[in-house]
């Protein structure tokens, strides 16, 4: 210690040192450990250490039947639990060549978009909090509560719903569902203006996010940074648009693209996506057709032997499901391509040469969910 104190200042600045950011750090939103190599305040490089919340979900899926493993996919990316469920159901239905009723498609699409909105709300809350605005956290969670109430009334759970099942959904919509969704959209359209007034135009926020964490389109493609993070670099990668599933082919919505490539663009993409999601819900909510909420399924679901792949747009990017079936009622191998894992891989590249305080902003703008990385 004494030697370091006696060194001339210029010598100290040349010294490179490592600090651990996490596994318990408020801005990593979970148990993510980043070993950051610093020179002064500059980030030279960083190394993510994963595995603190690894539960072996892929292996656990191999012992569960297809209806059973759906509840495990809730726990991968818990903020888009509906979307993960949807992916499994789409895969099973594709493999068995089952056509689900029209009502199911409507319900699933509306639920997916609600999941996207609440995920972005929580992201906005924590983004504000990471940059020092605790007010954002309270406002975001307050508005998110309305969506959680909608879910609790229909599915019975606030957070990990397990609402989709192969062939349809577990229960029919609650009679109050449409009324509550209308009330939510009416309220949230007013509240999202507050979001913009507090954070989007704020001078401190702009200076901490504009020009920070530049991710070029080429890098986004080569690292596989999908979702809003990739679209902030101008990469058109929205699966809802490119390979529509459920009702996405029949509703009008814009793919939000920004070309700024920085943290601010990724922020603006998500803010705009909340408007687009509300737009999609408004088109569907009044036209839900009557009918069954589930197709007739066999008691034991066996996928024909072969390989299947299904991808959906989760709130964080492309969620891919790869299943190898040997004809049994359990999958032989199940692989999840989770968006946060790919998005984390680019963190080292885009935070080099930035200040350590910018690293917090960059990490927040990638919207990492740690169980999604480790699964």
């Amino acid at each position: 210690m004494k030697e370091i104190i006696n060194l001339p200042v210029s010598k100290i600045e040349e010294e490179e040192y490592h600090i651990n950011m996490g596994p318990q750090h408020p801005s990593t939103h979970g148990v993510l450990r980043l070993v950051v190599s610093l020179q002064g305040e500059m980030v030279k490089s960083l190394k993510p250490h994963c595995g603190y919340i690894h539960r072996g979900i892929e292996k656990m899926c191999e012992k569960d039947t297809y209806p059973q493993l759906i509840h495990l996919t809730d726990r991968i990316d818990y903020l888009s639990a509906h979307i993960n469920n949807h992916a499994v159901c789409l895969l099973v239905e594709k493999a068995l060549e089952i056509e689900v009723p029209e009502r199911v498609k409507y319900i699933r699409t509306i639920m997916d978009e609600l999941a996207r909105i609440q995920s972005h709300q929580l992201w906005w809350s924590s983004f504000g909090m990471d940059l020092g605005g605790l007010t954002c956290f309270f406002y975001g969670l307050r508005d998110r509560e309305m969506i959680l109430d909608i879910w609790e009334e229909t599915t019975g759970s606030r957070f990990l719903q397990s609402y989709n099942c192969p062939g349809g959904v577990m229960q029919d919509l609650h009679p109050n569902f449409q009324k509550r969704v209308h009330a939510f959209i009416k309220t949230f359209k007013k509240k999202i203006k507050d979001y913009d007034r507090i954070l989007s135009g704020n001078v401190i926020f702009e200076q901490r996010s504009q020009g920070v964490g530049m991710l070029s389109k080429e890098d986004a493609i080569s690292y596989g940074v999908t979702g809003p993070s990739g679209r902030g670099s101008g990469w058109s990668c929205d699966i809802r648009k490119n390979e529509p599933y459920s009702m996405y082919g029949q509703v009008q919505f814009n793919e939000v693209l920004r070309y700024g490539c920085d943290t601010y663009s990724r922020y603006m993409v998500r803010m705009q996506e909340m408007h687009e999601s509300m737009n999609i819900i408004e088109q569907l909510i009044d036209n839900i057709p009557a009918g069954d909420y589930s197709a007739k399924m066999k008691a034991v679901i066996k996928l024909p032997a072969g390989e299947y792949y299904q991808k959906v747009e989760s709130a964080r990017g492309e969620l891919g499901l790869y299943v190898v079936s040997d004809g049994n009622k359990t999958p032989y191998r199940m692989k999840f391509r989770t968006p946060s894992f790919s998005n984390l891989s680019v963190l080292d590249h885009i935070s080099r040469g930035m200040k350590i305080a910018d690293l917090v902003a960059i990490g927040a703008s990638l919207d990492l969910v740690i169980p999604d990385i480790d699964r």
Binding site: H71, E153, T154, T155, L160, H174, I198, G201, V203, E206
Partner: protein
């Protein structure tokens, strides 16, 4: 001159954006009607959960202390993590043949993930969800529950 002007316009816009943000928080400060906080432990008596709320899995009993579970074990087979154990017994039936009835329906709340497959797949709709959500206990063993109430019997005609 230009950079000089920009310096002051930047300051002006900065102060303006901060005041805009503070006006939002100030508005909430002066309108207490918009407060949404629930005073949780105090409002326990009036707190109503939604009717579909998944608090815990229960066996539905009617006023005569009768349930409709015949101990088929479909819930046990459907459970992904072994939260349910159905222990059946055989008793002589009215026609002299041994009849399968339920002895104990054991439910491990500590292992349950609330996927809802047991309730959905029960052929006689014997299971349902309870509204209780305060499950914290000091001893893990208390999370293991027997769902069929003592002295209960099966509703006639369900078997």
């Amino acid at each position: 001159m230009n950079s000089f002007l920009k310096y002051f316009t930047d300051i002006f816009h900065g102060v303006k954006s901060l005041l805009t943000g503070m006006s939002v928080t100030g508005r909430y400060f002066f309108s207490p009607g918009q407060i949404v906080t629930q005073q949780y432990p105090e409002n326990r008596k009036t707190l109503q959960m939604f009717e579909r709320f998944k608090g815990e899995v229960i066996m539905l009993h009617d006023s005569n202390n009768q349930h409709s579970c015949n101990g088929c074990g479909i819930c046990e087979n459907n459970c992904p993590n072994g939260s349910i154990e159905v222990i059946a017994a055989r008793v002589p039936g009215e026609d002299g043949k041994p009849k399968r009835i339920i002895d104990r329906h054991i439910y491990h709340l500590g292992m349950c993930t609330f996927c809802g497959l047991c309730v959905k797949n029960c052929p006689s709709n014997a299971l349902g969800y309870g509204q209780k959500f305060e499950h914290a206990v000091f001893d893990r063993a208390r999370l293991t529950k027997v769902l069929n109430q003592p002295g209960s019997s099966i509703i006639k005609g369900v078997e």
